[in-house]
């Protein structure tokens, strides 16, 4: 670091009152540059990663509730044998839309949205690397979500399961537009996920605060980085796959038509090459959240920081070697089976390493059992169960019995709800003060936790047994003579307990928004940089970019934060640093709010939705997108004036 210039900056502070006024003016100038215009227009053109991330979180959570309502209706139908609450057509739509919603509209977006909000703050920068792209991503995601749910509410929702195997989803056995809607919903959400992934990778690589070498990065940032790379390598598979399916249906290609040389298993390979990493894309950010919470509430730096990082990276790699374990029942060569069994078993090791490190951290710290910590403890208990059943089904002979049964339904809900939703709730309680400036109620938080924990186990634990007793998944009803009635009824009793828990959560969020205790900058005395900003953070986040000397910057320097000076406050300037050691490299003026990302999202929507009905949708979309992109990059307003002024000089 350039120590010569540091001396010059340090001499600034002379008279406190004068200094304070100067700072105030500086903050005003920064806010002038960074704030989003108010009102509806601001909503359309915003480039603030915080407001976009909050929109993502609120939208994703709304779809969590909608997907949950689907699940509740399914539990109502299955509570009794031979029930007639819903028929097979609606039931098939219910579980397809439930699965697609939870995976594509809730889990992935909410996990990356937490990254979009907190990664820039935790690494000490003012915005993500491509702020306009961020806004585009959100609107593309929203369109995909509305497409799926609009169709479902019109009773033309997809009904072939969240992995839509052809030929069931092909042109012959799924006439109408239901599957096309599913395939294009995938296109929308994957574009959004890819945009977010690039965003996170580049922001983490190039905009870390000076001194935050890769080795000093918080574990949550590591988690988001690993996941961003996984998205880059996994999502193209499902985009390609859903495109094959869409054009098989639209223009008569034969990718999945065995009569003309196609192969239905090609879909399964491509889908699960994405689908298995997808599970870890949802799960790894949760690991980062758990690490952040454990560190703060155990009151000590995480034990085994490096081992944790390596574990997450290892998980990310091995996740791409497991896809075939979803296809054991399709008859594979034996050698392949052995490889995939071994890989599926060994992925338990990095998860084990992390669990042991958290326990070691808690053991040797001075743990405070606040609400975020309760969710973490619930997470470990449930995730260990889900992980153990995961190891069971890695075995081919074991999986051939329980594959496609309620045992699997139980397993993946333990992994996804226990492994991801529990940490997510914990993270929400942990970071809500930063998002809003107010604390959530601890009492309601405890109700929220215990109702969820009990309701979850009552609902999903019996499903293990149901699967072993022969109940396949995705059946809309079952005969009384099968003897599955009691356990199903028990599972259905758990559902309203979960609903009650979520209602308590919503009440807590609603009430605390106005009446919660004021949080201040750092209510938990946490060690990472997001807690060095005000709560909620100012539009520019940091008036001065911090300088980092360790892994727990706010614990390392308690009295005053070392910072950078010299960034311009008359434009949206961020500090670009180098990849490995975060040495300052250059300053970079970012683009401000613009309506063109929204226009591009509209062009994308027109193109993709039109493609459901006609092959001309694609060329029309391309033309519109070209216009929107040109508008996006074309200099306007201040940039135009400055460019032309520069020419005259």
């Amino acid at each position: 670091m350039r120590d010569g210039s540091a001396a010059r900056a340090a001499t600034v502070s002379v008279e406190p009152a004068l200094e304070e006024r100067r700072l105030e003016k500086e903050h005003e100038a920064l806010d002038e540059q960074w704030r989003t215009p108010p009102g509806f227009a601001g909503w359309l053109i915003s480039t603030d990663h915080k407001s976009i991330a909050v929109r993502y979180i609120v939208t994703a959570f709304s779809f969590f509730i909608l997907g949950g309502i689907n699940a509740a209706i399914m539990r109502l139908q299955l509570a009794r044998p031979d029930a007639h609450v819903v028929g097979p057509d609606l039931y098939n739509q219910l579980f397809t839309v439930h699965g697609s919603t939870m995976m594509f509209l809730f889990a992935v977006p909410v996990m990356t949205a937490f990254g979009l909000y907190f990664v820039p703050l935790m690494i000490g920068t003012r915005n993500v690397a491509f702020p306009r792209l961020n806004n585009y991503g959100y609107y593309v995601y929203l369109t995909g979500a509305l497409l799926l749910w609009g169709a479902f509410l019109l009773n033309i929702g997809p009904d072939t399961g969240w992995f839509s195997y052809p030929p069931l989803s092909g042109p012959e056995f799924a006439p109408g537009k239901r599957v096309d809607i599913w395939a294009q919903m995938i296109t929308f959400t994957e574009i959004a996920a890819l945009v977010t992934a690039i965003q996170i990778i580049v922001t983490v690589f190039k905009q870390r605060a000076p001194g935050m070498s890769l080795g000093r990065m918080p574990l949550f940032v590591w988690a988001e980085l690993v996941v961003a790379f996984m998205i880059v390598f996994a999502m193209p598979a499902v985009m390609l796959d859903s495109s094959y399916l869409a054009i098989d249906r639209l223009i008569g290609t034969h990718f999945f038509n065995p009569a003309e040389g196609g192969d239905v298993l090609l879909h399964q390979h491509l889908f699960w090459f994405f689908g298995h990493p997808e599970v870890y894309i949802i799960f790894i950010p949760a690991l980062g959240m758990v690490s952040a919470i454990v560190e703060t509430f155990a009151r000590r730096p995480i034990f085994g920081h490096t081992a944790m990082v390596l574990s997450m990276i290892a998980t990310g790699f091995v996740a791409f070697g497991l896809w075939v374990h979803h296809m054991f029942a399709t008859s594979l060569p034996q050698l392949g089976e052995g490889f995939f069994t071994a890989a599926s078993t060994m992925i338990a090791i990095p998860s084990g390493v992390q669990i042991f490190c958290w326990i070691a951290t808690i053991w040797s710290g001075r743990p405070r059992l606040r609400v975020p910590m309760l969710w973490v403890i619930g997470f470990v208990i449930l995730f260990v169960i889900g992980g153990l059943t995961g190891v069971m089904i890695a075995s081919v002979p074991f999986d051939l019995q329980v594959h496609d049964t309620y045992f699997i339904v139980a397993h993946f809900h333990y992994v996804l709800i226990g492994g991801s939703v529990f940490p997510l709730f914990g993270a929400f309680y942990y970071w809500y003060p930063k998002l809003t400036g107010r604390m959530l109620s601890e009492t309601l938080g405890k109700w929220n936790f215990w109702l969820f924990f009990i309701g979850f186990n009552v609902t999903f634990f019996p499903m293990h047994l149901l699967g072993l007793e022969g109940m396949p998944r995705r059946v809309y009803t079952y005969p009384a003579s099968m003897g599955w009635g009691e356990l199903n009824l028990l599972a259905s009793i758990g559902a309203p307990i979960i609903v009650a828990s979520v209602v308590v959560f919503l009440v807590n969020v609603w009430v605390s928004r106005r009446r919660g205790a004021l949080a201040g900058e750092n209510p938990w005395d946490a060690p990472t940089l997001e807690w060095a900003t005000s709560s909620p953070p100012a539009s520019y986040a940091f008036a001065h970019i911090p300088v980092v000397h360790g892994r727990t910057p706010l614990w390392d320097t308690r009295d005053e934060l070392p910072v950078v000076t010299g960034l311009r406050s008359d434009c949206r300037e961020v500090l670009v640093t180098d990849l490995l050691d975060a040495e300052p490299d250059h300053r970079y003026g970012q683009a401000g709010p613009s309506v063109w990302p929204f226009a591009l999202a509209v062009a994308t929507a027109v193109g993709i939705i039109a493609s459901i009905f006609t092959p001309w949708g694609t060329p029309v979309g391309v033309v519109l997108a070209t216009i929107a992109l040109t508008g996006w990059v074309w200099p306007k307003g201040r940039e135009r004036r400055e460019l032309l002024a520069g020419e005259r000089l």
Binding site: L168, R300, L388, F398, H403, E469, S481, M482, G483, G485
Partner: protein, 342 residues
């Protein structure tokens, strides 16, 4: 042997022939047995691991519980403590690796045992059966080099006990999956592919099997019965199935045959020995001998048969079988005819 737990008319009828609950925990063959071994091993390991982890977690979280202060001081880790902590964590990881390795070996050994049935079975003249999946029923064929000895039936798989069976399976529409939990494992039926599955039933009885891969509207009602019986009875059954349908001997059944041949039934169904040769639906040559109707959905009783013929959509909405509004006398004659096809 565990009978169906809920006594309605249906199970009682089937208990008579040794009906088993559809469950992986009630094995009736070498593969089902192997699975049970694997299941208990994994359960034992899992319970032990779970208990140890949860105890460690709870002790860690609760052991220093005391009056909360406003802000707990931060603990600075000391090198000696960290080292001993490191040793414990390393040991835990090592135990994990060992346990996973044990599991892997157990899994591979079980997989081998599954395969050995295939190897041994090939030598012992296995019973070969071809299964074709349809939305939403199973077409079952016993092939023979002599075409007149081939047997085609539906939704009921008869096998001799103690002898390996090899299923050669495919589908003509969407993907289905054959799963008989008591007999072990499942295998997909995939259009454009032929998959094989080996199994053996050691205990005589009736085992329910069900489609496990989501296949559309009536995935829930696509079951079949595996009837495992002593070799002699199996041979007798096969011989009977090879016969064409016996012509009706009384006037009621003769009228029933006329109803059948005169209505739309023949577009989809075959009855060997009559002009009916449709291939869309199940072969009905010996429908009267079967335990169930509509792919394991209803017990094969006179009343159910009538209901099914007149209004299949109320039992199995979305089924490809249309409603057949028949006059009462025609219906009774038809049912008598079909019941007599044994």
């Amino acid at each position: 042997m565990r009978a169906w737990r809920h006594g309605t008319a249906f199970p009682i009828a089937l208990v008579a022939v040794g009906q088993h609950a559809q469950s992986a925990l009630d094995p009736a063959g070498p593969q089902g047995d192997r699975f049970i071994g694997l299941w208990w091993l994994s359960l034992a390991i899992s319970v032990a691991v779970f208990v140890l982890v949860v105890i460690a977690l709870l002790v860690a979280a609760l052991r220093r519980r005391h009056e909360p202060v406003a802000v707990e001081p931060v603990v600075a880790p000391e090198p000696a403590g960290e080292r001993s902590l490191g040793r414990v964590v390393n040991a835990a990881v090592a135990v994990t690796v060992v346990l996973l390795f044990v599991w892997l070996v157990a899994s591979v050994r079980t997989g081998r045992a599954y395969t050995s049935l295939r190897a041994a079975g090939s030598a012992r003249a296995p019973v070969e059966v071809t299964i074709t999946g349809h939305q939403w029923w199973w077409e079952i064929e016993y092939p023979d080099t002599n075409p007149s000895l081939r047997v085609t039936t539906a939704n009921e798989l008869h096998v001799p006990v103690g002898r390996p069976v090899v299923l050669k399976m495919t589908s003509t529409d969407v993907i289905h999956s054959f799963w008989a939990p008591n007999l072990g494992g499942k295998r997909d039926l995939i259009p454009g592919h032929v998959t094989t599955m080996w199994f053996q039933a050691d205990t005589p009885g009736v085992y329910r099997a069900q489609c496990a891969e989501f296949c559309g509207y009536q995935h829930a009602h696509m079951a079949l019965m595996v009837v495992a019986e002593p070799a002699g009875r199996f041979r007798a059954w096969l011989a009977a199935q090879r016969q064409p349908a016996a012509p009706p001997t009384d006037s009621l059944r003769a009228r029933g045959e006329r109803v059948f041949l005169g209505a739309d039934c023949t577009l989809c169904h075959s009855i060997a020995g009559t002009p009916a040769g449709g291939r869309q639906g199940p072969d009905l040559t010996h429908v009267g001998s079967r335990l169930t109707l509509a792919a394991g959905t209803l017990p094969n009783t006179r009343r159910n048969l009538a209901g099914w013929i007149v209004d299949p959509q109320s039992t199995k909405p979305g089924s490809l079988m249309p409603q057949n509004p028949l006059g009462s006398e025609d219906l009774q004659a038809l049912i008598s005819y079909l019941e007599g096809l044994r």
